[in-house]
Amino acid sequence: MIFAPGGMIHCATMAAPTPAQTLPLTGEPAIRLRRVLRRIEFVPALIVAGLLWQVASVVARNPTILPPPLIVLRAWADLLGGDLLDDVAASLTHLGIGYALGVASGLLLAALAAYSETVEAIVDPMIEVLRPIGAIAWIPLAILMFGVGGGVPIFLIFHAALSPVFVNAFAGIKETDIRLVRAAEALGASRATIVRRVVLPGALPLILAGARLSLGVSWMAMIAAELTGADAGLGWRIFWYQEFFATDKVMAVILTIGLLGYALDSAMRWLQTRVTRHRPQPDDAR
């Protein structure tokens, strides 16, 4: 089963594609103006959303229940000069270690499973059994195994990252066009060359799709693990501020989580288009 990218589509990618390279070449100022206008069309919507938020917080009449947007922005600016960077660093450390381990193990397992049918017969059902448990369900056991600390988020991120990468990489390798392999063989390519020049480039789009999916799931798992079983990181900090009912800071951390998550996903999307420019993107397939 292949992870369809159906759940992770970007609205931005679905807007009419505007090739950036050709932008300066179109001489028509009207067209250029319209393009710029299209890019900033979300600004009024953002302002309306901010106003609605402001109205809601006025109606709530309690800045602790719903801090108004400007207060949250101020809290955010304060935090940027203080604790927030430490929390971001802690979270990114958890993510970096767990994600690297998960992706590496997923790729290794996929390669082994593609190489040997016996490994496939064992690993594939194992992943299929483990996958529905999901990373989140491991939290209590992870707390028991590693204690409250960095181990819980790292283990969870590892677990969350592994299976999408495995499933997609395995499918990608399996879908290698056998005619290409035969042709390479006939032309005298060695095994290593075939893997490097035929199998990997063919599997790369799916591998990257899996890696991007993994990153999204890992991000969620990280926040959940930090909320429940860590002593550092963005998720942990949310509850820490909530203890003092500093909800403006809670909202500021939530904002940070959203922005960072968005940045990470955008980076992966950029990598996807960059590395696999030679083929149609699964996301933009239309």
């Binding site: 589509i9 931005a12 807007a15 016996t118 926040i223 960072l260």
Partner: protein, 260 residues
């Protein structure tokens, strides 16, 4: 590899693994620290008999269904609007994208503040988690509708309502339903996360709002029962499998014109 070997290899492997597991735990004699198959079976029997397993599972599932319904009711119309009207899409797209990037579970502290611990905070998280897959898949579904069909219907004089009801919705439904399946899987993951977080944060003795997540926290911190912990993990896996299989079946039954 023959079919028999394909089936036998994993069975033998896993059977051997279970036996080895049991033997290893018995040898170590440390039943408090390591879960073992017989212990899990015993925990299952005990918790099925006193009803905690069933009530926890139905509690969580009930919350998932309500949250899912809220997410669907809010997400599908927005997705339709964004899919049908490009200005709406361009205006709402960045907002949806940035809100979507916030892990639903991160809202737990605010949700606790707004809605209290009696299950409603988890409900908010579930609705939040299901809302975005619904929006995105509906947008994509509408955009994937065959333009030829739309033009043909327009040429034949179809009005707005007929176009929506007769052309766009039927061809968009399969993709929307795929979104529903992703959403429900997501919802099940988030209800566990939400209940775990609430359970760890609020050591409530209240049995009213208890779900699988809170039971796991109780098991971890009060009963210290590793076997029951693994049992709950298996239950979580079984329910998520059932959700996935069930919705695949529903998808086939609801959209017979599109074989997936």
């Amino acid at each position: 590899m023959t079919r028999a070997r394909r089936i036998a290899a994993p069975l033998l492997f896993f059977g051997g693994l279970v036996v080895l597991w049991e033997a290893a735990v018995r040898r170590s004699g440390d039943f408090a620290l390591f879960p073992c198959p017989s212990g899990i079976a015993e925990a299952a029997f005990r918790r099925l008999n006193d009803g905690t397993l069933i009530s926890a599972a139905t509690g969580s599932l009930g919350r998932v269904l309500v949250g899912f319904a809220i997410g669907a009711a809010l997400g599908t119309p927005l997705g339709l609007a964004m899919g049908l009207a490009p200005p709406v899409r361009r205006a709402m797209g960045p907002i949806v994208d940035s809100l979507r990037s916030v892990a639903p579970i991160a809202w737990i502290p605010m949700a606790l503040l707004w809605l209290g611990i009696r299950g409603n905070a988890a409900l908010f998280v579930i609705a939040y988690a299901t809302f975005f897959p619904f929006v995105l898949n509906t947008v994509q579904a509408v955009q994937l509708v065959d333009r030829v069909l739309v033009s043909a219907a327009r040429n034949l004089g179809a009005g707005r309502t007929l176009m929506l009801r007769g052309v766009i919705l039927p061809s968009a439904l399969p993709v929307i339903l795929t979104g529903a399946r992703i959403s429900l899987g997501f919802a099940w993951g988030s209800v566990i996360a939400a209940e775990l977080a609430i359970g760890i944060k609020v050591h409530s003795g209240t049995e009213a709002a208890v779900g699988v997540g809170q039971q796991m926290v109780n098991t971890l911190y009060f009963h210290r029962d590793v076997n029951a912990l693994v049992l709950y993990m298996l239950v979580i896996a079984l329910i998520s499998l059932a959700i996935d299989r069930g919705l695949r079946g529903a998808q086939r039954a609801l959209t017979p014109w599109r074989q997936t």
